[in-house]
Symmetry: C2
Subunit: 284 residues, 2 copies
């Protein structure tokens, strides 16, 4: 079914700002798939349809509690020979998300986006194991790393998450987001630490794409909001990321987010706020 | 080294209220061990020292990220033949914590504490597997279950945590606390859901006893504070539980909590508050 990091990200971010995914798809990505993006106003001009090609494909299974995914099959398809060449419109983006792919490709895209004032990068264990130097170079060129917490430990060789995040920031990024599945997500910055739980749901159908929907809500909000990219904005962005991820998992594939409304997002954002706030007693 | 659920709990709770642990120890639990408790004002009259006996003993190891413990050795020692008989002072307790032990023993203690207006129970996978009926009966008799999130799933046979917590509340408890290691803890009540991250630490030495220190901060605060056991109080109690657990893991055994001050607790509570709050934009 329809999926992929750029698709999940774009749909989630489309509620906050104009989104322009860049990347190749195969002939199996047809009018029906483009229509899902276009109905949400996503700009599809930079999606390159490769004649005779097949789209990137992933299949996996989840453990009992849905927190751990096991990859069963990955086929790069058209990504195997992809050489990114951005349009002028894509080059002008102020906010950039480098979804999980070979880090040299991420660096090529980053290099073409001179205008980006906030860029974020996702990655995975495969690249830590097979292309670590490239990945470290790619991380040094972005403002924010958004990966699973286990990957931050693996990347830095540091079992303590707070230390591992500090080691990442020493490479360049001003922010590190540790995705933690149903446990939520944590934000490390110079200013300090912030964390939100996952939004509690009684019906979780499909965690696939939750991390990319998180990134879409997070970066979409940051791009669309007025004002500085300060700590308060980053925290609010964590909230929108959490909300979009929670809608993502309610149904399979892109079903739920594609049918979402901004009002539903705001309603859940307020609920999340209510689930995380507490009042300390005034000092006696 | 000195440990055990009742010891960790008592030290943590001692910062908020009078604590009176009930249970047996062996001859290996001597003046030095009693002194650690007494220096924190813990009432030790209901600790029964069994001549010729050996104290309960646990040894285990932790995985790389310190989130998963593996038991290597457990010796019940004097708990093997323990028959709880509470003093009048212990029977009069308004708040009761039934630390993790065979659930029939927990029920015997609960039955002797008529005055308790808020009782909480901890348990573990061993009792779910070997004494499930007793455990379910014990849970039905308390106001609050405090266990690891995986144990809530195992107990109810429900992989979704929100559903699993609801199933526990259907048995009797008005509150369910899911402990989640470094990810923090979540509170389920009739009123809704609340969650806090673990307090981020760059030096974690020993997670042993963190759950019991959490319970000590949580129940100690509830017992010591003025006013109702309402949602706001429970949330604040989650904060104090989180703070006490975080001090517990900074050094081995009881070292750190035994040397703690109320001022340090309040300072960290305020830091935790600052790490979890965010401001939604006013509705446009």
């Amino acid at each position: 079914m329809l999926g992929g990091a750029a698709v999940h990200f774009s749909l989630a971010a489309s509620f906050f700002t104009e989104v322009r995914p860049v990347g190749p798809v195969g002939e199996d990505f047809g009018d029906e798939q483009f229509a899902v993006l276009e109905r949400r106003g996503v700009q599809v001009d930079d999606i390159e349809r490769v004649p005779g090609g097949e789209s990137f494909f992933w299949r996996g299974r989840y453990e009992y509690d849905l927190n751990v995914a096991h990859t069963e099959d990955t086929q790069l398809g058209v990504f195997g020979t992809f050489e990114p060449k951005l349009s002028a419109a894509a080059e002008a983006a102020e906010t950039l998300f480098l979804a999980n792919i070979q880090p040299d490709l991420q660096r090529q895209v980053r290099a073409q986006c001179d205008a980006a004032r906030f860029s974020a990068l996702d990655s995975m264990n495969l690249w830590i194991e097979t292309a670590k130097d490239s990945l470290l170079a790619a991380i040094a060129e972005v403002e924010c790393l958004i990966v699973n917490d286990a990957e931050i430990r693996q990347l830095t060789g540091e079992p303590n998450l707070a230390r591992a995040a500090r080691a990442v920031m020493a490479l360049g990024p001003r922010a590190v987001v540790a995705k933690q599945g149903e446990y939520g997500a944590a934000l490390f910055t110079e200013e300090g630490f912030f964390a939100l739980p996952g939004f509690p749901l009684e019906d979780v159908r499909d965690p696939t794409g939750a991390g990319d929907s998180f990134a879409g809500g997070f970066l979409g909000y940051l791009d669309g909001h007025d004002g500085e990219l300060d700590e308060a904005s980053l925290r609010r962005a964590m909230g929108y990321g959490t909300v979009l991820a929670s809608f993502n998992v309610e149904r399979f594939g892109t079903e739920r987010v594609a049918a979402l409304s901004r009002e539903e997002i705001e309603e859940r954002f307020q609920l999340l706020h209510g689930m995380t706030q507490f009042e300390p007693l005034p000092a006696v």
